[in-house]
C-alpha cells in the first residue's frame, strides 16, 4: 500500500482552503502551516502562464528526513506516510534541514511537526481534511498500489509531475498538469 495525493493544477484556483482546513483540523498554531499554496507564473505580458499548486510534505518513498533523524522520531508509518513521533523527537532539526520541500517546522512546543496525511482520518476511512474541503475538487487521495483506485487511474491517464524529482526523494504528491 502506498498512500499518495494527486493535485489537479487545472482545477485548483489557489484559494488556500486546504491550508486553513488543515490548520483547524489539526490544531496547527496560528503562524504555522503544514500545507501552503504556490503560484508559479512565467512569460511577458500578455503572453503568460500560471500554475497553482497546493504543496505539503511529499511523503517521499525515499525520505531524507527519516534518514536524517537520529532517534527514529521521524518514521515511515502505514502506507508510506511519513510521521513524527513527538515523544521521540529531540528537536535537533536535522530533518528540517534535510527536506528539500521545507515541509517541516518546529512546533511551539518544541517537537518537529508536519503533514500527516491526516492519518487520524485516513485510519477511519476518510480523506485528509484538505482533500475533503477543496471547493474545486482539485485533490484526490488514495492508494497508488491499488491499480483500481481513483488516484492510480488518474495518474495513469493524465500528464503529471512531481516536485524536484532530481533530489531523489521519490515524492508521492502528483501534480496533474
Amino acid at each position: 500500500m502506498r498512500y499518495a495525493m494527486a493535485i489537479d493544477t487545472r482545477r485548483c484556483v489557489g484559494c488556500s482552503d486546504c491550508v486553513v482546513a488543515c490548520q483547524t483540523e489539526n490544531d496547527v498554531p496560528v503562524g504555522y502551516c503544514r500545507d501552503w499554496i504556490v503560484e508559479s507564473m512565467s512569460g511577458t505580458y500578455p503572453e503568460l502562464q500560471l500554475e497553482i499548486r497546493s504543496e505539503r510534505c511529499n511523503h517521499c518513498s525515499d525520505a531524507p528526513c527519516v534518514r536524517a533523524c537520529p532517534t527514529q522520531a521521524s518514521h515511515v508509518g502505514k502506507g508510506g506516510i511519513v510521521l513524527v513521533e513527538e515523544s521521540e523527537c529531540i528537536g535537533c532539526k536535522a530533518c528540517i534541514a534535510s527536506c528539500p520541500y521545507d515541509a517541516r517546522y518546529v512546533h511551539p512546543e518544541g517537537y518537529v511537526d508536519k503533514c500527516t496525511f491526516c492519518i487520524h482520518r485516513v485510519e477511519k476511512g476518510q480523506n485528509p481534511a484538505c482533500v475533503d474541503v477543496c471547493p474545486t475538487h482539485a485533490m484526490i487521495f488514495g492508494d497508488m498500489d491499488d491499480l483500481n483506485s481513483d488516484i492510480a487511474k488518474l495518474v495513469a491517464r493524465r500528464k503529471w509531475k512531481t516536485l524536484i524529482p532530481e533530489a531523489g526523494t521519490k515524492p508521492n504528491i502528483y501534480y496533474l498538469l
Binding site: 489557489g14 488556500s16 491550508v19 503562524g31 504555522y32 502551516c33 501552503w36 499554496i37 504556490v38 503560484e39 508559479s40 507564473m41 512565467s42 512569460g43 511577458t44 531524507p64 534518514r67 536524517a68 533523524c69 537520529p70 532517534t71 527514529q72 522520531a73 513527538e86 515523544s87 521521540e88 523527537c89 529531540i90 528537536g91 535537533c92 532539526k93 536535522a94 528540517i96 534541514a97 534535510s98 527536506c99 528539500p100 520541500y101 521545507d102 517541516r104 517546522y105 518546529v106 512546543e109 518544541g110 517537537y111 518537529v112 516536485l163 524536484i164 532530481e166 533530489a167 531523489g168
Partner: protein, 313 residues
C-alpha cells in the same frame, strides 16, 4: 519574468523566508568539535611516535583543554535542541544513516576517552601535584599503561570526529551548498589547522613552534586546495549547486567568505607564517589567532550559507 511565490502567507518561524533553524550554537559546536579533534589527533600522533617529551604542549598540555571544549560544544548543541527533555533519545537509538546519530555516538566515545587521555598526562604536567587519594593514583597509573592503545583509538576517533563536523552538513542533499563530499575533509583540515595554530600560540619550545608552523602551512595549502575544488565541484554540478556557489562568487556571502575565511583565516596567516619561518619578526600570536578565527568563521558562514541555498523558489 518568472514569479514563483507562496500566496498563502506562509511565514513559518525559522523556515521562512529563508531557512534559519541553526543559529550560533551549531557552528560553534562544529568548530569546537573539529578543534578538539585536531588537538587529540596531534597528541595521539606524536605519542605514537614517542615524541611526547619533545612536543609536550601538543601531546600533554593542550589535551587538558579538550574535555572543556567538548563540554562547551555539547552544551551549545544541547541549547540548540528545541525538545530538550527528550535529549536522551539520542542514546536509545543507533541510526547508521543519520549523521546526527553518528555525532552523538562519536562524542559519547571521544568525550570520556579525552578525559582519560588528559588524566594520563596529569602527572607529567604537574609533577608536584598531590593526588591525595590512593585509588586515584592507582587509576591514573592504570590509565598510563594503556596510553598507546588509547592513542591508536584516539587517532581514529579524532579523524572521524573531525570529518563528522563536515559530514553532518554534507549529508543534507536538500541544501545544495552543504551537499559536497569535500565538506568533511575541509572541516577536518580546518580543525587540524586550528589545533596546530593553537599549539604554535601556546608552546614555549622553538622546535615545537617551528614544526607546527610548518604543519599549519601545509594544512592551509590543503584547505585552499579543498576550497577551490569545492567551488569547482559546485560549478560543474546541477543548477542548484551552481546557484549555491554563486552566493560566494558575487552573491551575498562573497565578502564575508573571501575576506574572513580565505583572507584573514588562510592567506594572510600563511604569508605571515612563511615570513616567520624565514626568521622575519612576526609575533606568533597574530597568524595563530587569525587561523583560529578563520576556522570559526568558516563554520559560521558555511552553516548560514547552506541554509540559504535551496532547491525551490
Amino acid at each position: 519574468m518568472v514569479e514563483e511565490i507562496i500566496t498563502s502567507g506562509r511565514m513559518t518561524p525559522e523556515v521562512d523566508p529563508i531557512l534559519h533553524i541553526w543559529g550560533w550554537e551549531i557552528p560553534l559546536y562544529l568548530f569546537l568539535g573539529g578543534f578538539a579533534a585536531g588537538i587529540l589527533f596531534f597528541s595521539a600522533l606524536f605519542t605514537l611516535q614517542n615524541k611526547e617529551n619533545r612536543y609536550s604542549m601538543a601531546v600533554k598540555a593542550l589535551p587538558l583543554a579538550v574535555p572543556v571544549l567538548l563540554a562547551i560544544g555539547l552544551g551549545a548543541l544541547f541549547l540548540d535542541l528545541s525538545h530538550k527533555l527528550y535529549f536522551w533519545q539520542l542514546y536509545t537509538n543507533i541510526r547508521w544513516e543519520s549523521p546526527m546519530s553518528w555525532g552523538a555516538w562519536t562524542l559519547m566515545l571521544v568525550t570520556p576517552l579525552s578525559i582519560l587521555w588528559a588524566a594520563s598526562w596529569i602527572e607529567d604536567l604537574f609533577p608536584n601535584l598531590d593526588l591525595r587519594y590512593d585509588w586515584l593514583k592507582e587509576a591514573i597509573r592504570t590509565i598510563r599503561q594503556y596510553q598507546k592503545p588509547m592513542a591508536w583509538a584516539l587517532i581514529v576517533l579524532a579523524v572521524i570526529l573531525g570529518m563528522y563536523t563536515g559530514i553532518l552538513l554534507s549529508a543534507f542533499n536538500a541544501r545544495p551548498f552543504w551537499n559536497s563530499a569535500i565538506m568533511g575533509p575541509l572541516f577536518l583540515t580546518s580543525g587540524l589547522s586550528a589545533a596546530a595554530a593553537a599549539i604554535t600560540l601556546l608552546t614555549k619550545e622553538h622546535a615545537e613552534r617551528s614544526l607546527f608552523t610548518k604543519i599549519d602551512l601545509i594544512l592551509i595549502a590543503v584547505e585552499l586546495f579543498f576550497i577551490i575544488h569545492l567551488f569547482m565541484g559546485f560549478l560543474a554540478s546541477t543548477q542548484v549547486h551552481i546557484q549555491a556557489a554563486e552566493m560566494f562568487l558575487g552573491g551575498e556571502f562573497t565578502v564575508p567568505f573571501w575576506v574572513w575565511v580565505v583572507g584573514i583565516g588562510l592567506a594572510i596567516p600563511a604569508l605571515l607564517e612563511i615570513l616567520e619561518l624565514r626568521k622575519r619578526f612576526v609575533p606568533t600570536y597574530v597568524p595563530a589567532l587569525m587561523v583560529i578565527a578563520g576556522s570559526l568563521m568558516l563554520r559560521f558562514i558555511v552553516v548560514e550559507a547552506g541554509q540559504a541555498s535551496r532547491w525551490l523558489y
